[in-house]
Amino acid sequence: MQGLIEFKSVTKTYGAGSSAVHAFGPVSLDIAEGEFISFLGPSGCGKSTLMLMIAGLLEASAGTIRLAGKEVHAPQTDIGIMFQDNTLVPWRTVRGNIELQLEMRGIPVEQHAEHISSLLQSVHLADFADRYPFELSGGMQQRAAFCQAMVHRPKIVLLDEPLGKLDAMTREHIRADLQKLWMQTRSTVIFVTHSIEEAVQLSTKVAVITPRPGKVETVIDIDLPFPRDLKVKGSSAFIRHVREIQEIFHGYGVI
C-alpha cells in the first residue's frame, strides 16, 4: 500500500565541497494516513529538518518526498504546522492569532467563529480568547499555538517539539489534551520530540532517528489502546517499548 507521505532516500547536506556537513540521510519512510508518528532522536539529528521538508519549507539535497503521490517542491498549504518557537504574534489576542491563520489563507473568519470557540474550549483556553500572548503562561501559549495550527482543518499536522520548553507537569497535561483531540480528528500527525516516554505515549508509530548523520534506525509499532492514560503508561507493554528505545540510544552512546 502506498503511504500518504513517502520519503525516498532523502538526504540533506549543508555547504559544499570538503567543508560540507552531512546532516542526515538517506532516509526512506512511508507514513500512512491517520498515523500519529513520532520522529524521536537526539538534538541535531535532523528530525525538525525532516519535518519541514514535508511542508515544502526546506529542500532535500537528494531524494524525493511525495505527498499523496505528488512530489513536494514548494510550500504545502494544506498542512498545519506548529513550530519550535510558537508563531503567536504579540499584536493579536489569542483569538486574533488563530484568525491570522485563516486571514492569511483568505478564508472568511466569521464562518469559523464557532469552530475557533470549540477549539479553544478543547484546550481549556475559552476564558483567555481575548488575552494577548504575553498575558499567558508558556503552557497556555503552546495551547493557543496548537489551535492556530489546527483551525484550517489540515489533514496533516506537523508538531515540532511543541512541549519542549514546558515543565514536566504542564507537558503531561497538554499531552493528554493533545491525545484527546487527535482521537477526535484522526488526522495524520508528525510529532518531533526527544522524549521517549512522550513518543511512546502519543504515537501509533515511533521512528527512532540516530545521531548525526541522522538515519531512521527502526520504526516501532506502538500497539497499545487509546487513550493512553496512567494505567496504560504503567503497563508492562508500555515500559517494554520505552526500554527497547532506551537500549537503542544507549547503543549509540546518546544516553
Binding site: 519541514l52 511542508a55 519549507l57 510550500p75 504545502q76 498549504t77 498542512i79 504546522i81 513550530f83 519550535q84 518557537d85 510558537n86 508563531t87 504574534v89 504579540p90 499584536w91 491570522l100 491563520q101 486571514e103 492569511m104 489563507r105 483568505g106 494577548y132 504575553f134
Partner: protein, 270 residues
Amino acid sequence: MAMASSDGKGAMTHLIGWVAQSWMFIAFFIGFFLFWEFSIGFFNVPLYILTPPSMIVTKAWADLPRLFAYTYVTGLETILGYMVAIVIALPLGLAIAFSSILRRTIYPFFVTIEMVPKIAFAPIFISWLGFGLLPKVIIVFLVCFFPIVLNAILAFNSLSEELQRFSRSTGAGVWRTFVKIRLPAALPQCFVGFKYAGLNATVGAAIAEFIGSDQGLGFYIQITTGNMRPELAFAGIFFLTAIGLVLFGIITLAERILIPWHISVRRIQA
C-alpha cells in the same frame, strides 16, 4: 486594553501615584533650582555670566512675543525636516531590506555616511542655499534621515524564521504577508529610529541657525549671548527644549496608538 482607565479619577490617582513614586526626583529638581537661584548672590556671580532662574522668567516674559515667533520658525524647520526624513527614509529602508542590489550598493554607502557628522555639512548648505528655511530643513532632514533608514532596514530584515515559514506555509501573497505580519512586526524597531531622530532634530535646527540665519531660537540664543544677556539665552534654550519635548511627545503618543502591545510601551504603562 491598557489605556482604558483615562477618566478624571484615574488620572488623579495616576498623578498622586507618580508624585509618591518620584518625590525624590521632584525634590532634587526643586533643590537644584533653589541652589541656582541663591548661589548667584552668594558667590557674587556677575549677571552677564549667569542670572538666577527667577530673572530668566521675568525677562523672558517681557520678550515673549519674539520668543514665540522664533519658536514657530525653529519648530517649523524641525517638524518639516523630521517629516520629510520619515517620508523618504521609511520606504527607502523597506526597499533596501528587500532588494539584494540596494543592500549591496546603497546600504554600505549609508553606513559609511552615518560615520560622518552630518552637522559638518551645515556651513556648506547654507553657503549654497542662503539664510532661509530650506537649508535648515535639509540639515534637520540629514540628521534625522540616517537613524530612521538604518533602523527601518534592520526592522524589515529581522522577521523571525518561524514567522517567515508560517507565512509561506499559508500560501499568502507578498502583500498580505506584508500587511498582516511584516509591517506590524517591524514597527517597534522603526520607532527606535523615530525616537532617536526626534531627539536629534532640534539639535540640527539649532546648529543650522547658529551658522547662518536671521531668525529662530538658535539665532536668538547666539545674539543674546553676544549681547551679554544670558537670561534670554536660557529662555531660548527652554523654548528649544519645549519643541523637542513636544516632538518626542507626539512620537511616544503614536507609539502607544500603533504598538500598544509592545514591551517598551507596556513597561511605561505598568
